[in-house]
Amino acid sequence: MATAANDATETQPAPPPRRVPIGSPLYNRILETYYDEAAMLDELRYNEWIAWLAKDLRYTVPQRLTRLLADHDQSIDRSVMHYDEDYGMMAARARRLGGNSAFAEDPPSRTRRLITNIRVELTGTEGEYRVLNYMLLTRSRFEQTRMAVLSGERRDRIRDLGDRFELVEREVIIDQSVLGMPNLAIFL
């Protein structure tokens, strides 16, 4: 089995990345962008959401494995993931969802993406930033009275286009080894 895809995400001996301070104009613009993004998804405005994805996007949701503490670096697995997409695939997914027969989400779920703990760092590339943020997703379908809840961290890279940002990379570290939903027909 391909195991090279596993890696140690928790311990980075590299020099600490430079932070974009909370309260800086750049940070604030990014915060607005993230709140707007959540609203787009929660309000099913898929076209707008696709517009914020970069053409060179990589969008992944690795699996989580239950591993002993000694093997903790193997607890995120990037071989067979829940999502592993490029821009075209995400656009196709969104097109489908907006169509007439994406029954997995028709009727649509009622979702809410609460975004917190946003930290921004410079990357090696001018105008690109790493945005770490926590997400609590709630999802309710039909007459369900116990909402599905999923938490995780989104490890993003975004690109400053001057008047707006675009999402270049997103990796979502979810907090379940067996996902508690019947599908991920919704985007994280």
């Binding site: 089995m1 391909a2 895809a5 949701v61 699996q63 494995l65 239950t66 591993r67 002993l68 093997d71 697995d77 071989s79 067979v80 993931m81 829940h82 999502y83 592993d84 997409e85 695939m89 196709a92 997914r93 097109r95 489908r96 169509g99 007439n100 027969s101 994406a102 029954f103 997995a104 989400e105 379908r141 080894s177 067996v178 996902l179 508690g180 939903m181 019947p182 599908n183 991920l184 027909a185």
Partner: protein, 458 residues
């Protein structure tokens, strides 16, 4: 609670009557009834061969994965001799779960509660402070190991059963093996797993997924009609995929074979009877294979299988009771057709819950780059976020909810679309083959085998 020999439910219903053979109906209550579920754990999941994974997941001595046989956790581990063992993950001492992680490598599975230790094959090693013999003397050490399941490795796939004296795995597959071999055994290297399986929970009875895996081709036309809207040109495409040959057996296994000539323009003339195997292979080798592998494949398959593979290869189907398999042809810009395969198991987690486990495979020896392409193609369509299967997993819960209703559970599932065509002409394969438009026969066979197993006192 029923006794182990019951042939009726406690409300007086004969179990065999749940499947109405005269009208080809199944009472919907089978999707929600707790008593039936408990019986299934004994009579189906306690008796048949169950898929647990693939040898390539645990390549080295001491490697293990934690898996499930029905509602029981098991350890699947490789010993120093390279053999694979399946042991009940329940400590022989006081029932603690011995293995606590999804995978890993160890020669000693040590229970964290009181420290009893077991080998990868389940054998008891000992308990702490040996001189105190904390395991006592009433039970010999040879009986203090983890309970062992019977194991069979088929083309690298790890199957196990609690039915130590029951049918062999080959008997279990029966005539259908002829077709499965075409998928699983055609190359010397065989398939390899691309990573740990996706896992997610669906609030549905396992049989809602299970009966569908027995080659329900028809639902694609409606539930997955987006395929047509997005990729097709007005509805004709999907309808054409409804045609093919479904093969099934008395053991509930099923496969759908699809004509290459109808599916691929370049294979237009494959059915003409005028092209040699070589000619056809060079135009369109089996998925995952390259043209130069013809000899290798010929070594593994009979001429009849070879002919079948080059005309109507099996593409999708299931293995009773809870396995779905799907072969994926992925045409590439460079003209090659990459092939991957997905296998699912639907683990029962209660009368109204199932865990969906999804492995993705590539032929061993595929380049790393091609593997990645195939993997991405596959999870785009199947599994957690798969555009096809996300619709299925939102459907099964509704069926299960219907079956919970007091009136709903009295309704039936119907399998009355009966294939009446003569068997396909010049058909080379064994088992029952149904030609033409997809009908309900293979699914009905699935239920008939379920009925047979459920009617046998444990």
């Amino acid at each position: 609670m029923l006794t182990r020999t019951s042939t009726t439910l406690s409300d007086g219903t004969r179990i065999a009557d749940l499947v109405r053979t005269e009208t080809r109906e199944v009472e919907l209550r089978v999707l929600s009834d707790a008593e039936i579920y408990e019986l299934e754990m004994e009579r189906v999941f306690g008796k048949t061969w169950l898929l647990l994974g693939h040898a390539s997941e645990i390549p080295n001595s001491g490697d293990f994965v934690m898996r499930d046989m029905g509602n029981d956790s098991v350890i699947v581990a490789r010993d120093r001799a390279g053999d694979i063992h399946v042991s009940l993950n329940v400590c022989a001492h006081r029932g603690m779960r011995v293995c606590l992680s999804d995978r890993g490598n160890t020669q000693i599975h040590k229970c964290v509660y009181h420290g009893w230790a077991f080998k990868p094959n389940g054998d008891f090693i000992g308990s702490p402070i040996a001189e105190e013999k904390m395991h006592g003397e009433l039970t010999p050490k040879s009986e203090l190991g983890l309970r062992k399941a019977r194991v069979h490795i088929y083309a690298g796939l790890i199957f196990a059963t609690w039915n130590l004296d029951g049918p062999s795995f080959d008997e279990f597959l029966g005539e259908m093996k002829w077709y499965y071999d075409m998928i699983f055994q055609r190359t010397a290297g065989g398939w390899e797993v691309l990573g740990p399986p996706q896992r997610f929970m669906v609030d549905a009875n396992w049989k809602a997924a299970g009966e569908q895996s027995a080659a329900d081709g028809f639902h694609t036309l409606t539930l997955h009609r987006w395929l047509d809207e997005m990729f097709g040109n007005g509805g004709s495409e999907l309808t054409s995929t409804m045609y093919g040959v479904e093969v099934g057996s008395d053991h509930g296994h099923a496969l759908r074979c699809q004509s290459l000539s109808k599916k691929f323009a370049r294979a237009r003339d494959f059915d003409s009877g005028t092209m040699s195997v070589e000619e056809r292979w060079n135009i369109l080798p089996a998925p995952g294979c390259t043209p130069d592998m013809l000899d290798e494949v010929r070594k593994n398959l009979t001429p009849e299988q070879m002919e079948q593979l080059m005309t109507n290869p099996p593409q999708v189907g299931g293995i009773f009771p809870n396995v779905l398999l799907a072969c994926i042809y992925a045409p590439q810009p460079d003209g090659r057709i990459l092939g991957s395969m997905a296998l699912h198991t639907y683990i029962p987690r209660g009368p109204d819950r199932l865990e969906f486990v999804n492995w993705v495979f590539a032929e061993k020896g595929t380049s790393e780059e091609d593997k990645q392409t195939m993997l991405r193609n596959t999870i785009f369509m199947l599994g957690t976020s798969g555009l096809v299967e996300q619709d299925d997993s939102d459907t099964w819960p509704h069926m299960t909810a219907s079956a919970r209703g007091t009136q709903g559970r009295k309704m039936t599932m119907k399998y009355q679309a009966i294939n009446k065509l003569p068997p396909p002409a010049n058909w080379r394969g064994p088992a029952k083959a149904y030609d033409g438009f997809t009908k309900d026969d293979t699914q009905w066979n699935w239920w008939m085998y379920w009925r047979e197993l459920m009617s046998i006192p444990a």
